[in-house]
Amino acid sequence: MEKIVTRESWIRENIFLGMSFRDYVKSNLTPFNFIAALILIFGVPVMVYRIIYGLGPATNLSDNNPWGIWIGFDMMTGVALAAGGFVMGTAVHLFGMKEYRPLVRPAILTGFLGYLFAVIGLLFDLGRYYRLPYPMFVSLGVSSILFLVAWHVALYLTTQFVEWCPAIFEWLNMKKFRKFVVSLTIGATIFGVILSTLHQSALGSLFLLMPSKLHPLWYSSLIPVYFFVSAIIAGIAMVIVESMLSHRVFKEQVPKMAMNHAQFNSITIGLGKAASALLFTYFCLKIVGVAHGNHWDLINTKYGYWWLVEVVGFVLIPAFLYAFGVRNDNAKLIRITSVITVIGIALNRVNQSIICFNWNIEEQYIPSWMEVTITITIITIGLLTFRWIINRMPILYDHPDYEIEH
């Protein structure tokens, strides 16, 4: 039954989605692609400018504010929002919650790309990006928390790639390779849990060494726990948001999915339940942190109000909204709440690393338009990559030729 596959037909089927080159190009003339193209035409030269002229002309970074949005947003927020891969992997492969299986592959792909593009963002931030392997192989600063972050992010990127591989090999129809990488699933999942626990909390722990620079409401010895718990929340919320968007953007794939509409809603509600419980826990931990330092007096200050916006507006209220949505079987409310939660986690990471950092000196950092442009460009490239893969590989649905793994 072997089909004769010529190179032309292979490219047509696997790259051009079964269309001729001309039809494929035509099918890409969409408003979204037009905007994406505009961003790239504008953004890529800015990236080149940063490389050629350096950080000084391209950014508003200074000696007092050495970290900007490429660290505070791209890295800190990107990695937190990419936690869905390990959260869903743990739930399905280790805890045996099989009903969530349809969300594992999209979560792992989101995770892999999230990390990948966070690292790409980091390359623009590093003064000597070409020395990226130095902390791994050349000069090892083992006492640094950043050393742990570097190693773990690198290892986790690899782990997530391995977890993504089954989809690649199904796409390329390489059965033997696919069988091998599928056999690695449990090992990769466990390795991923360990790495994620440590580097998610380590990203927050970077700030443990800045007690004199962070606002006391954001500085606590609990920072590692905050970052870890909120990363799980971010992962869950992002999985909900991502699955919601995928159902709209990739409509044609919905009939192929391993879940019907009712199942999809019930999965969403199940995730909402977990998110609600975790948000309440996170809220309590935040309160414990303030109680620990006895910083109640600071609540009634400018920064205190801002803290309330974050902790009440984007933690406590979503926690209640999730609970309400679960009670009333309202998947739509859970999806909306997830958007709020994702924004809340981003707000927390930006507060932690930019807004409430150096709160006691006059010089405040506001990103330059070039920094913002590069961030938007990286996100756009990330989205395009995500879409390219989703359109080709069996991520949202099960490939009919392969049995379900595990």
């Binding site: 050629i52 003064g127 600063g141 006492s143 640094s144 928390i145 972050v149 449990i186 090992g187 800045m210």
Partner: protein, 306 residues
């Protein structure tokens, strides 16, 4: 699959245990460290400094930084803003109002404090910083990748970055004239230059005694505090002041805990996670697998009964 998993776990244990051992020894070394004995320091007496800024000139001169003729350093207009160190300026002198004697402003030299337990060194993931036995905290730009964590972590905001260098930017800061002081009789350029002996170079332990002696002998002239004796675990550079230190640009809320110690709680958790998580995960996996098998058997039994 079994072999794969076993092999994988074996590797994992190896990685885990090296991390544990590596970190534990490092932690112990930090535990009782109170600075190198016989390390050098500088005592800055702000009651003596006249704000001539000749130390700034000498510093740029000895470090081959872009410099101006020494006469231009008489320009007093620079004192109108509070300055900090930058890529081509390792030391600056700032002027502060004297609350005790308004006619006599206080001049304060700023440069790297050369902490006994430097934050910059502990956060650097390429080990670019070393605290030398002589007391100098020295930066090695040949391994630096430019993450700028040292700048974010320094409680004194000292390290600066060559932001305008596109391809080979470096972290810069006061070197304590390491190449000079490691030689017998060598003195930092700024100390050598100071025309009024506001700066005293010597063994740190002796300078601490000297500072307290000056305070004892002139209790009206100084506040009873030697800045840098205990701040963030002690620094090689020490300061005397006629007014409370927060009035002349020093942070008095830094505490006496060395900055690296703030990461210890987390680092000790790392080994716990590395050891317990794999076991926990395998446990959860076995439970869910067993549950699945039981469910399968049950449904099979049910079928047979039918």
């Amino acid at each position: 699959m079994g072999i794969n998993r076993r092999g994988f776990l074996k590797h994992l244990t190896a990685i885990g245990s090296t991390a544990v051992v590596g970190k534990a020894t490092k932690g112990l070394a930090q535990e009782d460290f109170t600075g190198y004995p016989n390390s050098y320091g500088v005592l800055v007496d702000t009651t003596v400094c006249i704000g001539c800024r000749k130390c700034e000139w000498a510093c740029k001169n000895v470090n081959n930084l872009p410099n101006k003729p020494i006469t231009e350093y008489n320009d007093k207009s620079v004192f109108e803003t509070n300055r900090r160190t930058h890529a081509d300026t390792f030391t600056v002198v700032n002027r502060f109002n004297n609350s005790k004697n308004p006619d006599k402003p206080i001049y304060v030299k700023k440069q790297c404090m050369h902490c006994n337990e430097p934050a910059c060194a502990s956060v650097c993931f390429v080990k670019a910083f070393t605290k030398s036995p002589e007391g100098a905290v020295v930066h090695n730009p040949s391994v630096c990748i430019g993450c700028r964590y040292c700048m974010a972590a320094c409680p004194f905001n000292i390290p600066a970055y060559q932001y305008d260098d596109a391809f080979t930017p470096e972290i810069t800061k006061c070197t304590f004239c390491f190449d000079r002081i490691r030689k017998e009789g060598g003195v930092p350029a700024c100390v050598e230059m100071c025309p009024v002996e506001a700066l005293t170079f010597g063994k740190r332990s002796e300078l601490v005694d000297l500072a307290h002696e000056r305070i004892r002998n002139n209790p009206d002239k100084y506040v009873n505090h030697v800045y840098g004796e205990h701040e963030v675990g002690g620094t090689s550079w020490l300061y005397l002041s006629p007014v409370p230190f927060d009035e002349i640009g020093f942070r008095t809320d830094l505490g006496t805990t060395p900055i690296p110690k703030y990461s210890r709680g987390f680092l000790s958790m790392v080994s716990v996670v590395l050891v317990t998580w794999p076991a926990l995960c395998m446990g959860f996996y076995s439970f869910s697998k067993r549950r699945e098998e039981l469910a399968k058997n049950e449904s099979q039994n049910n079928k047979e009964e039918e």
